[in-house]
């Protein structure tokens, strides 16, 4: 029910918004806020209630396909958090847009709700065709909003955005059509099984088609042409949604669709990881040179998401929680920065960072908030960004020191451009005289402040995000199996072992209670393999491990109550 509400109700809300008056932004904004709050509440409920799926409803039949397309929603931790990002960023966008656009606020709200519904659908769809439907549907409201409310070059921006992303996912459509003609239906498992039986050349072609769509959406290095102009010309609240939630659809696609269904060879994984790192460095360099504040933020987003993609393709066991935390952190911080940049633009009448300056003095509350959010985006420890980037770095270190070193370089570079940005926007003295525009209102300030506080909370307790995060757990696998083979229900689950990643993801996240021990079994195993890699002989390793075990056991014996206490605490938390 939650799932249906989250996907369909935004469209209903969009229709209902049409009933309000165009001339009276006050009343329409009230209704819009009400819907916004409701959706945020729903998405929090979704996260709290864990993995769930709707009934699979047959939707339509694609000519030439074996099975039919289902309207089938499935929520796992990753998707649910992305939905929260989309709903909460939309809410804040509605709030900040209230003071930026006086005219025709209603239509803006309609567009935002339509966009939200499409994004939620993308993150929750369990059927590939359904996913693709929403993936494409996202573009349309976004493009219309850009064309209607954007800056000077809005038409060009909207056209570039729409055409670039639609063309980018066209090959995916063809690949998907081919896949559903060979697979039983378009659910993940059937696609994975079908791909196993194709010859490698075909697999690579299909993979390339899928990758292209997601790389354009994220965007990854050579396909980022649409991004800067789009984010710069779109109204700031929309840019925040685009970067905070919509561009996540690309990374989401890598994790939730590419990894489970494609048997990836090492070359592809390596190539993608390096592309991600290249994007990260490239984005940082362009951000360093950008003069337009929104473009700077756009490139910075590109850099962070490049790092996230590199993290995805490090394929380590902590990849999923690491990338998820990074995505949530980036969504919140980049979103907040775009909102703030929008307010700065409104206040000073320009977004050229050379023309800005001295905002800390002219508008101190805004300045403090701006600095605060900038610090949060710097991945300073204690913020969610740090947890994300550190764990991603850790995953990359698994691939070798060089990727980690490059990622570390990105952290330095991000500090460089972000501090330059902060300095140019809020410090120093204003470069020119101007009439003050509208200041930041209390509502805007507090809503952005809440995002900042959330980043701190997630930074100190990332378990909020990483707890109970399973991409495809046993239940889901069985249910999907039931849809595919209704007559022979759960017995067949053993035949669907196809993609190694699915199994990995499911097992990756086991007992939480073992934390309090100084050295867990897992650590020992890790240590063992490391030692082996470093050239220890077998006996040496055995004796070392034995000693370690003895030591850690003695330690555990010393503090058993404490362990129990923490375990209990965690148990109650999980409830």
């Amino acid at each position: 029910m939650l799932l249906h509400l989250l996907v369909l109700a935004p469209f209903v809300a969009a229709v209902l918004m049409a009933a309000t008056s165009k001339e009276d932004p006050k009343s329409s904004s009230r209704l819009a806020f009400l819907f916004g709050y409701a959706f945020v509440a729903l998405s929090i409920a979704l996260i709290a209630s864990g993995n769930q799926a709707t009934e699979a409803i047959e939707w339509f039949h694609i000519p030439g396909a074996k099975g039919s397309v289902y309207y089938y929603l499935y929520s796992h931790g990753l998707g649910a958090w992305m939905v929260l990002l989309s709903t909460s960023l939309s809410l804040v966008a509605l709030m900040t847009a209230r003071n930026t656009l006086d005219t025709n606020y209603r239509n803006f709200a309609i567009g935002i709700f339509a966009l939200m519904g499409a994004m939620n659908g993308t993150f929750l769809a369990a059927d590939a065709v359904l996913f693709f439907f929403f993936f494409e549907a996202m573009v349309i409201p976004a493009a219309i909003l850009i064309a209607a409310y954007g800056g000077k070059e809005r038409t060009k921006a909207a056209m570039t955005f729409a055409i670039y992303t639609l063309v980018g996912s066209a090959p995916m459509m063809v690949a998907l059509w081919y896949l559903v003609t060979v697979a039983d239906n378009s659910l993940v498992l059937s696609l994975a099984v079908a791909l196993q039986n194709l010859d490698p050349a075909m697999q690579s072609t299909l993979l390339a088609c899928f990758l292209l769509a997601f790389m354009v959406k994220t965007p990854i290095f050579p396909f980022h042409g649409w991004q800067a102009i789009t984010y710069a010309e779109a109204p700031a609240p929309l840019s925040a949604i685009l970067t905070g939630a919509m561009s996540k659809a690309g990374v989401f696609g890598f994790i939730a669709w590419i990894l489970p269904i494609f048997p990836l060879s090492m070359e592809w994984v390596d190539a993608m990881m390096w592309l991600g790192l290249l994007t990260a460095v490239y984005g940082a360099m362009l951000a360093f040179r950008a003069m337009d504040g929104k473009k700077l933020l756009a490139y910075s987003s590109m850099g962070h998401l490049g790092l996230a993609v590199a993290g995805v393709f490090s394929l380590s066991e902590s990849m999923l929680p690491a990338v998820l935390v990074l995505l949530v952190a980036h969504g919140l911080s980049a979103g907040a920065q775009f909102y703030l940049m929008g307010i700065a633009e409104r206040f000073a009448g320009t977004r050229d960072i050379e023309q800005l300056g001295g905002l800390a003095k002219r508008n101190p509350v805004f300045g403090s908030l701006f600095g605060f959010v900038a610090v949060l985006s710097l991945a300073v420890p204690g913020t969610a960004g740090f947890v994300g980037e550190f764990t991603v770095l850790m995953s990359l270190w698994d691939m070798g020191p060089l990727p980690a070193l490059v990622a570390g370089l990105c952290l330095i570079l991000s500090a460089a451009y972000m501090l330059r940005f902060v300095q140019k926007v809020i410090f120093g003295t204003p470069a020119r005289q101007y009439e003050d525009g509208k200041r930041m209102t209390a509502l805007e300030g507090s809503s952005i402040g809440v995002m900042g506080v959330l980043l701190l909370v997630f930074g100190m307790h990332p378990a909020f995000i990483t707890n109970a995060l399973q991409l495809f757990d046993e239940n889901a696998v069985q249910e999907m199996n039931k849809v595919s083979h209704p007559e022979t229900a759960p017995v067949e689950s053993s035949t669907v072992e196809a993609p190694a990643d699915v199994v990995d993801d499911a097992t990756a996240d086991e007992n939480v209670a073992a934390v309090a021990q100084p050295m867990t079994e897992e650590d020992l195993r890790q240590l063992d393999s490391n030692l082996k890699a470093n050239g220890f002989s077998d006996e040496e390793r055995a004796s070392l491990i034995a000693q370690l075990k003895a030591m850690s056991e003695s330690e555990v014996a010393e503090a058993p109550e404490q362990n129990e206490a923490t375990a209990n605490e965690e148990a109650s938390e999980n409830e």
């Binding site: 020191p401 996240d509 890790q526």
Partner: protein, 651 residues
């Protein structure tokens, strides 16, 4: 007494930060701002409370320290870290002077920052800094230390750029943060390096020590050494960043752009010594990699010498002190490199007192002269500001190692350990002694130029010179007392070894491990004391000979009014090296922006243009008239029907 939980120590400054931050943000709109008395009281209260709790805990501390785990922090498959605190001999010493000096300097700042627009904001930052610093030294794992480590860097950035309407301050702040970030990445990669060795659990200090013990016990050290050495080097990179050692030393002189209490607290007494703290904390790990220790030793020596020489040529009073700080940090690193961690922490301890006293004194001088920082415009101030002068002279005697003062004991100890413990000890001892002479020269120059001779500033300012208010003098006097007597906690030649005893449980094993292998040369400790005293006296004599006897010329008009230089003189060499990297990066960014991105854009628009051209071409087939279109479509329909009928369907 001991049932105080450890988390209460960082809690107080954190509360202070939140409270003051809220006040600062809420009041920033109003013209007048909140009452300074109220804010000042709050901002001293919180550090003082945490000082009190540290003192209470310190007295009841058992020998092996207190360990408490607060809660779980990060819990994902590869990384399980708890928020846990470790209160042992090392963190006790560090905490005592961090919170103690922190409270004193907060008190001093009430007077110094009086009337500033950002009064509340300043104290919020100071509290945040103290919170981070406490977390840094109190944490029981590397990752939590890293939280404090970046936190202090952040506060340093905020406070250097505190007067942010001046872009030069902002640039200095940015430089400090970015250079520190380079070091931080070293720290971060070092952690990853260790984690490959033993999983994330090894990031806990106890677990790390145990792991090293086990390697030694099992005789596997050689196998793990390469990785540990890399990790050690990376951690050392982190330390060079935070403690302003070669090659990352350029930020500290620029950091003097911040308010003077900040320079005293962050850039002299506490934050910059965290590198030394980390070396001592990881002493067990460093003890198995003597090669890295050798590098530490050499870097420390070069830094100490280089910065001392650079200090000779500064005219800005704070810059002299900045270089002197770098030089003293070099001493500490030399000591750590020679595996004399206790001596190096002891020097951290005494240095905190006399350097903070010097900075606060300099602050009082600057305050008295209404912002003048150029020593060439000072002189003769001993008559106008006697208390400040006395404080600074005591601290001066301490820093040059005059017998009986704090610096004498600690510096002497370091030099002695260098001679006995280090390979090529004689050489390092010689350089250390030479540096001590230079230290005495430039510090003597500072004292003479500031307090003796005649006043060389503009006449009209002379009347306004006044002693600082009591709330500034009180902390200075206490610190001066510390500068005199702190050394007696470990007066080796008098046989008092209290300090060594408190640190022994933490660093003793590591020191014995390295030093035990050496054949210690037996030299009479009195010989070192004599040489040290001789160095101090010689330096003072030289300073007197050069700057004391001849009268300094009055200030030339062409020298300009600003204190010389935002540019860090004498670090130019390293600034130059840094600028090579920066230029390389900028060139790469230029290429990426101007060439690569343009090419990509060109490709993108070319494809678009091709589509457009083709579309134009096709549209010429479009019939002009509606009727013709309709006819054509009918013909098409008929043709299609005919085909279907004749062939029996397409499929």
């Amino acid at each position: 007494m001991t049932n105080l939980p450890l988390w209460i120590i960082p809690l107080f400054p954190l509360l202070g930060t939140i409270l003051l931050g809220t006040v600062a943000v809420v009041s920033s709109g109003s013209k007048k701002g909140p009452s300074e008395g109220f804010v000042g009281a709050l901002s001293v209260l919180f550090p003082a409370l945490s000082f009190v709790s540290v003192v209470l805990l310190a007295f009841g501390m058992p020998e092996e320290g207190i360990r408490q785990t607060l809660c779980n922090w990060i819990d994902i498959p590869m990384l399980k870290v708890n928020i846990g605190f470790l209160f042992d001999g090392l963190s006790r010493v560090m905490l005592l002077f961090v919170t103690g000096i922190g409270s004193l300097i907060a008190l001093y700042s009430i007077g110094y920052m009086h009337g500033d627009r950002g009064f509340t904001r300043f104290f919020a930052y100071i509290n945040l800094f103290l919170f981070s610093m406490i977390v840094l030294v109190l944490s029981d794992s590397l990752l939590l230390t890293f939280l404090g480590w970046e936190g202090v860097g952040l506060c340093s950035y905020l406070l250097i750029g505190f007067w942010n309407h001046d872009l030069n301050n902002c640039k200095a702040a940015n430089k400090a943060f970015i250079v520190n970030r380079v070091g931080d990445i070293g720290f971060l990669l070092g952690m990853l390096c260790l984690a490959t060795l033993g999983g994330s659990a090894i990031l806990n200090y106890d677990a790390l020590n145990k792991f090293i013990e086990m390697l030694i016990a099992g005789g596997h050290v050689e196998l793990a050494t390469p990785i540990i050495a890399i990790a050690g080097l990376l951690f050392f990179v982190g330390c060079t960043g935070k403690s302003a050692q070669i090659p990352l030393l350029t930020w500290l002189p620029d950091a003097m752009a911040g308010p003077t209490p900040v320079s005293a607290l962050i850039h002299a007494a506490t934050m910059v010594t965290s590198g030394v703290y980390l070396l001592a904390r990881l002493s067990r790990m460093f003890s198995v990699i003597p090669e890295v220790l050798m590098i530490v030793l050499i870097v420390g020596m070069l830094t100490a010498f280089w910065a001392a020489v650079a200090g000779l040529f500064q005219n800005d009073i704070k810059k002299v002190l900045a270089y002197s700080t770098i030089s003293q940090l070099g001493y500490m690193f030399m000591a750590a490199g020679a595996s004399a961690y206790d001596a190096s922490i002891f020097h951290v301890f005494t240095h905190a007192f006399f350097k903070a006293a010097l900075f606060l004194g300099a602050g009082a001088v600057i305050h008295a002269l209404a912002g003048e920082q150029d020593m060439r415009r000072m002189g003769g101030l001993i008559k106008k500001t006697p208390v400040t002068a006395c404080v600074m002279i005591f601290a001066f005697l301490a820093i040059i190692g005059f017998p009986g003062f704090a610096g004498f004991w600690s510096k002497d100890l370091i030099l002695e350990r260098l001679y006995t413990n280090a390979p090529f000890g004689e050489f390092f001892y010689g350089v250390g002694l030479l540096t001590a002479v230079i230290t005495a020269v430039y510090m003597g120059r500072l004292i003479i130029m500031t307090f003796f001779g005649e006043y060389r500033g503009p006449k009209e300012k002379e009347a306004h010179i006044h002693e600082a208010p009591a709330c500034m003098l009180f902390p200075m006097v206490i610190l001066a007392v510390g500068a005199v007597f702190a050394g007696y906690l470990w007066a080796d030649s008098l046989g008092i070894k209290f300090f060594e005893g408190t640190l022994a449980p933490v660093v003793g094993v590591a020191q014995d491990f390295v030093v035990g292998k050496l054949a210690v040369a037996h030299v009479n400790p009195m010989a070192f004391a004599c040489f040290g005293t001789a160095a101090a006296l010689l330096g003072m004599f030289i300073a007197y000979a050069i700057y004391g006897t001849k009268r300094l010329p009055r200030l030339h008009a062409k020298w300009g009014s600003a204190p010389e230089g935002f540019k860090a003189d004498w670090t130019f060499f390293f600034d130059y090296i840094h600028s090579i990297f920066i230029v390389m990066f900028k060139a790469a960014a230029f290429v990426a922006d101007v060439f690569v991105d343009k090419v990509l854009q060109a490709i993108q628009w070319t494809i678009g243009a091709i589509a457009e051209i083709v579309g134009d071409g096709v549209s010429s087939f479009q019939a002009r008239k509606v009727r013709v279109q309709l006819t054509l479509s009918l013909v098409g329909l008929v043709a299609l029907t005919a085909v279907v009928l004749l062939t029996g369907g397409l499929f």
